[in-house]
Structure formats: structure tokens, C-alpha cells
């Protein structure tokens, strides 16, 4: 049985040179946008920015507000619910479901902006 010839890649000398140099970085290109795409991108940018500001305000309210509540209302650690100081579950557990709901809301709104 005749031996099968080895398969080789056929490339031009320039390609071989380019491969030898490595192409990890790629060349920088001036960003392009079709006029129609540019309009759409501008609309999306403005709507996403408005939504982002609303969502950021909600996050800040939680992260600045809850410590401030604890500082202004130190009795939270005296009040007990089922024997546990009220402040503990407010800190250890409450923020997580709140943040999950916030993430879901932000995701829905951001995707709706793109679908619309």
C-alpha cells in the first residue's frame, strides 16, 4: 500500500512571516459605526445611562443607608426577635435577597431597552 503523503498547510510567505511574528495583539483600528447604527447606539446609550443611574441610586441607598440606620438607631442590637438581636439578621441575611431582586430588576430593564 503506497504511503499517504503528509498533509501540509499551503500558505504564502507573507502569511508564514505573519504567523512567525505572532498575532496576539492584532492591529488597532479606528472604530467604525454606520450612521444607522450610530443613531441606535446613541439611543441605547442614553436609555441605559438613565436606567443605570436609577439602579445605582438603589444600590447606594442600601449600602449607605443601612449602616447609617444602624449608627443612628443603636437600639437595633437591643431589640430581639425570637431571641436574636434584630440587627444581626438585618445585616447577615436581608441584604442578599434585596440585592438579588435589584439584580433581576436591572437585568430585565437593561434587556428591555435593547429589545425595544
Amino acid at each position: 500500500m503506497p504511503q499517504r503523503p503528509r498533509r501540509v498547510t499551503v500558505t504564502s510567505p507573507q502569511t508564514r512571516l505573519a504567523h512567525a511574528r505572532g498575532r496576539a495583539r492584532g492591529r488597532w483600528r479606528v472604530p467604525r459605526l454606520d450612521p444607522a447604527d450610530a443613531d441606535r447606539a446613541l439611543r441605547l446609550y442614553r436609555r441605559q445611562r438613565a436606567q443605570a443611574l436609577r439602579a445605582l441610586a438603589a444600590v447606594l441607598a442600601l449600602l449607605i443607608g443601612l449602616p447609617a440606620v444602624f449608627a443612628l438607631w443603636p437600639q437595633a442590637q437591643e431589640v430581639r426577635v425570637l431571641g436574636i438581636p434584630l440587627a444581626w439578621p438585618l445585616l447577615a441575611w436581608l441584604p442578599y435577597p434585596a440585592m438579588m431582586l435589584l439584580a433581576r430588576w436591572q437585568l430585565r430593564r437593561a434587556e428591555r431597552v435593547e429589545d425595544g
Binding site: W28, R29, P31, R32, V59, P67, P74, W88
Partner: protein, 572 residues
């Protein structure tokens, strides 16, 4: 021995799953970002797996024992970081088509200088973050078995470099998704077991903390690192060798590697540099780490560092590039919030139980080991040993997962951004970075993991966070503005860290702002970036470069940017 077998199991699992990912990997893109074909659910499990490090698995519970319930603000900030990411950067960053943060910097601003500066920042953040991981791997192994510290460090370095050098990011995605499941299970089941088995008295004591001023029983304390104790009453302690040591009132230095048994009823000494375990202070839901009297400011400082720093962590950002498109990247961030939220319901359980069952860990400053120390306190039989082994397994999985991502991203910064390189050089660099980390971690047994990791977050928050947020949302950002802002954030934060490490001890608000500099370095970096940008003029394409990041993929040609044959202008 059970604990060692558990660690061997994790290591073997990591290698097997890692090696399965070797198939079909040819280009740098395959290696770094798994050819961008990872689904949101798998990717968010991998993100969470990578993110839940030793600081989350062990550190938070340890901080609760040492600093009080307020330490639970750390995981709140860790999770909030993903909401910030979801809102601000996830989708646009993916659409930029860049592989790494330095790539993004160059694509958006066309500044090779900024690219190299970003690569250097990646190395700083990576070192601050990965050395504590390797160090904790060594400490936990030596705490649960008789192995010396260096063995665990070397094992960690070996497994990380083999997995990455052979499999790259594709391997890491599966490994980390697997490890997230493992960690979740190994954290939740023992927590429930501990609460049930602890019994009603311990549970009652746990929610009614008292001052830790007298030893309730003869209490052995082993010192892993050098500690200076401040003794107030003459105390007779038995040393590990069986000698009786009389401690007079005053300061006593306990050398690392020794142990001592404090008798029942003796007054608990204080640790120099740490606040005493006062019940009222401990139960307060705010962070007052050094006892500097500004708990509200201290809490905000930690929240700013962790929430904004998460956005700038280079190994996490790279994970978002493995999503197929911007929408998937956004979904990944949202699912990650949910996955982390489940995990973080439990560190408080370990911390509160540790405060009542093993408060003496405070004396050795080794509160990091509270999670693995607890099972033996509620059950001295085989069940306790088994749970200790399971928790050790989870902790080791935590170091491995985080270290995999960090070593990869550091190798990427060197081989991809600082030097021109292909796949082979990246593989060699991975091994080099792992070896370098082992060498840095070997003499670092005494460092405070929580502090060093938080510094890593602060550097990220003061450099990459402004770069990404302004790069994505502000068309007027210029390259020189970005360089100025990143330099300002990097130098001020490193300066504050140097002052905290080598400067005189500062009390009060000044000391707080030096040890937790995020509250002023992050706004300063934003201000420098915006100020210098406003003085210059952005190039004519700057607005297009920004708007492109907000255009959904259906309008962009092909995945990940324009086709390779597209019109080109300029060059390097």
C-alpha cells in the same frame, strides 16, 4: 489524616477536570477566554467559584470572631460588587472585544502606555491577592495535619501551574464551576450540622454574647505566628513542653509554633494591637476594626473598597470575556449575585458559633482557622473529624479556584501585554508566575490575610474602576486623563499601604483613612481622570469608540467585533 485525604481528593478532581479541557485548544484566545463559548449559568458558577476565595470561606468567619458582627459588611460589599458590574460594565466591556483590561484600555483609548501601565496594575493586584491564598493553603494544611507550612504552599503552586499550563482558561471554567458547587455544599451542610448539634445552651449563648474576660475552662492556645500578649493579672500557664510559666503583669511575646494552656478562671490577656472582646462592641452591626471610634466611616470605607474593587479585579473581568456576547455577560453578572447571595448567608453562622465556642482563637490571632476548628468543639468522635475534613476540602478548593484565575491573569499580563507572545510563552509564564508566588508566600506566614486582600480590592477600586466606568460612559475621556487617573489611584493607595505598614501608628480618623484608604483614593482617581481629560481634547473617533460599546450584537458584524478583513487605518 482524613483532612489530608480530603485535600488529595480536591487536587485530583481539579487535575482530572482540568485535563479534560485540554482538547481542541490552539490559539491564545482559546487559552485565555475559552474561545468565548461559555453559557451564562456555567460562567456565573465559574465566576462565583473563582471569587469565593480563602477570604470568603475562612476569612469572614474569622473576622466576625475577632472584630464582631460588623465584619459581615465584607460579604455585602463583595456581592454588591457584582451589581455594580451588572449595571456599569458587564455588557459594554464584553462588546469591546478585548481580551483583558489592558486590551480594553488600548482598544478604547489607543494608548500603548496605558496598556503597559494597566498590565503593571494587574501584577500589583494579583500579587496582593494571590500570595495570601497560597499562604492560607499552607497554614490550613499545617493546622489540620502535621505537615510543615511549606508543603501546602508547594502543593498549591504545583497544582495551579499544571492545571493552567495544560488546560488554560477552558480547563479553569470547568474546574471553577465544579469547585463552586463543592464549596457551596461543603459550607452549608456543616453549618446546619453545627447549629443542630451545638444544642440549645450554645445556641442561647451564641445570641447572648458576654465579654471574654475569664477562661471558662482550662484552655489550650497554640500560636502559629508571633503574638504579644498584655497580661493584667499574674497568670500561671502550662507550656506545650509541660513547663509551668508564670506570666507577670505586662507584655509577653509568645513565639510562633509554641502553645500554652491557660487555667480555668484566669483573666484573659489582651492582644497588643487588637481591641479586647467586649460583648457590647462585638454585637454592634458596624465595623470598628482598630477600635478607632468611627464605626460608620469604617463601614463605608470597606463597602467602597469591596464593591468598587470587585469591578476592577482583573481575573474576574477576564471571566466576563468568556461569554458569547454582551447580553450573556450581563446575565452572568446577575446570576452571580444570586449564587453569592446564597453562599454568604452562612459565614455569620460560623462566626457567631466561633465567638462562643472558641473565643481563645483571638489570643493566637489565628481566627482564620475558626471554620475548621469548630467541628471538633461540638463532636469529638468520627463525625467531627469527618466534618473537619470536609471543611478543609472546601477551603482548599477555595484557594485553588482563586489562585487559578489570578495566576492566569498575571501570566496573561506578562506574556500578552508586556511582551509579544504566543501560546507557548504563555504556558511558560504561567509556571513562572506560580513559582514566583510560591517564593513570595514562603516567608509570608505571618501576614494578615483580611488586610492584604482588602488592599488588593482597594488598588483595583482606585485604578481599574474609574478607567472602566469613565471608559464605558464618558466620551470625553482621553488617554492622558486615563493614565493620570490610574497613576494617581495606584500611587496614593500604595503610599497609604506603605504608611500603614512602615509608618508610625496613627489613631482615630487619620489612622482609619490610612489603613482603609478607599474613601479618598477612589474619588481622587476619578477626579484626576476627569480633570486631566477635560483639559485635553479627545480624538474625533472617541465618541464612536464609546457608543459602539452600547450597541447590541445583532447590529455588530460577527461576534466580538468587525471581521478581520475590515477597513484598517493607522497601525502600530
Amino acid at each position: 489524616m482524613g483532612a489530608l485525604a480530603a485535600v488529595a481528593l480536591v487536587v485530583a478532581g481539579t487535575l482530572v477536570i482540568g485535563l479534560r479541557g485540554v482538547a481542541a485548544m490552539r490559539t491564545t484566545s482559546d487559552f485565555l477566554v475559552a474561545s468565548r463559548r461559555v453559557s451564562p449559568l456555567l460562567n456565573s458558577a465559574a465566576v462565583s467559584g473563582e471569587y469565593l476565595s480563602a477570604a470568603s470561606f475562612l476569612g469572614v468567619a474569622g473576622l466576625v470572631v475577632k472584630d464582631g458582627v460588623g465584619a459581615l459588611w465584607y460579604p455585602v460589599g463583595f456581592t454588591a460588587g457584582y451589581i455594580a458590574m451588572l449595571i456599569l460594565v458587564a455588557a459594554p466591556l464584553r462588546r469591546s472585544g478585548a481580551l483583558t483590561v489592558p486590551d480594553f484600555a488600548e482598544a478604547r483609548l489607543r494608548s500603548p502606555l496605558l496598556r503597559r501601565l494597566s498590565a503593571a496594575v494587574v501584577l500589583v493586584i494579583g500579587a496582593l491577592y494571590v500570595v495570601p491564598q497560597f499562604r492560607t493553603a499552607g497554614l490550613v494544611l499545617s493546622a489540620v495535619s502535621a505537615t510543615p507550612y511549606w508543603v501546602g504552599v508547594v502543593i498549591a503552586g504545583f497544582v495551579v501551574s499544571v492545571t493552567l499550563a495544560l488546560g488554560g482558561m477552558r480547563a479553569a471554567t470547568y474546574v471553577q464551576a465544579f469547585q463552586f458547587g463543592l464549596k457551596l455544599l461543603l459550607f452549608i451542610v456543616p453549618a446546619v450540622w453545627l447549629v443542630v448539634l451545638a444544642g440549645p445552651e450554645v445556641r442561647h449563648a451564641a445570641v447572648h454574647p458576654v465579654d471574654f474576660t475569664r477562661f471558662a475552662a482550662d484552655t489550650p492556645v497554640s500560636f502559629q505566628v508571633d503574638v504579644t500578649l498584655v497580661v493584667e493579672e499574674p497568670t500561671r500557664v502550662r507550656t506545650g513542653e509541660g513547663d509551668v510559666l508564670r506570666l507577670r503583669p505586662g507584655e509577653h511575646r509568645m513565639a510562633g509554633g509554641t502553645s500554652a494552656v491557660f487555667p480555668e478562671g484566669a483573666r484573659v490577656p489582651e492582644v497588643r494591637g487588637d481591641a479586647p472582646l467586649d460583648a457590647q462592641e462585638w454585637a454592634r452591626p458596624l465595623l470598628d476594626q482598630e477600635g478607632d471610634g468611627h464605626p460608620l466611616v469604617g463601614t463605608w470605607a470597606v463597602l467602597v473598597a469591596t464593591a468598587l474593587g470587585t469591578m476592577g479585579l482583573p481575573h474576574i473581568l477576564m471571566r466576563f470575556h468568556t461569554s458569547p456576547d454582551g447580553r450573556a455577560a450581563r446575565r452572568t453578572a446577575a446570576i452571580t449575585v444570586a449564587l453569592l447571595g446564597v453562599f454568604y448567608l452562612f459565614p455569620g453562622v460560623y462566626g457567631v458559633l466561633g465567638r462562643v465556642l472558641v473565643p481563645e482563637l483571638y489570643l493566637s490571632t489565628a481566627t482564620d482557622t475558626v471554620v475548621v476548628a469548630l467541628p471538633a468543639q461540638v463532636d469529638t468522635g468520627w463525625a467531627g473529624a469527618l466534618v473537619t475534613a470536609l471543611l478543609t476540602m472546601g477551603a482548599f478548593a477555595a484557594f485553588l479556584a482563586t489562585s487559578l484565575g489570578l495566576v492566569l491573569v498575571m501570566a496573561g499580563a506578562i506574556a500578552h501585554d508586556l511582551l509579544p507572545g504566543g501560546l507557548r510563552r504563555l504556558r511558560v509564564t504561567v509556571v513562572g508566575v506560580a513559582a514566583g508566588t510560591v517564593l513570595l508566600a514562603l516567608p509570608a506566614a505571618g501576614i494578615d490575610v483580611g488586610v492584604v486582600v482588602t488592599w488588593g480590592f482597594t488598588v483595583a477600586a482606585a485604578t481599574f474602576c474609574p478607567l472602566l466606568v469613565l471608559g464605558v460612559w464618558w466620551p470625553r475621556l482621553t488617554a492622558s486623563g486615563a493614565v493620570a487617573g490610574v497613576l494617581t489611584g495606584l500611587l496614593t493607595t500604595l503610599g497609604a499601604i506603605a504608611l500603614a505598614l512602615f509608618g508610625p501608628p496613627l489613631g482615630g480618623l487619620g489612622g482609619l483613612l490610612v489603613t482603609q484608604p478607599a474613601l479618598w483614593t477612589v474619588p481622587l482617581a476619578f477626579a484626576a481622570m476627569a480633570g486631566v481629560s477635560l483639559r485635553g481634547r479627545p480624538p474625533s473617533w472617541s465618541r464612536r469608540a464609546m457608543l459602539r460599546l452600547h450597541l447590541d450584537e445583532r447590529r455588530l458584524e460577527g461576534p466580538g467585533g468587525p471581521p478581520p478583513g475590515g477597513r484598517t487605518a493607522g497601525g502600530r
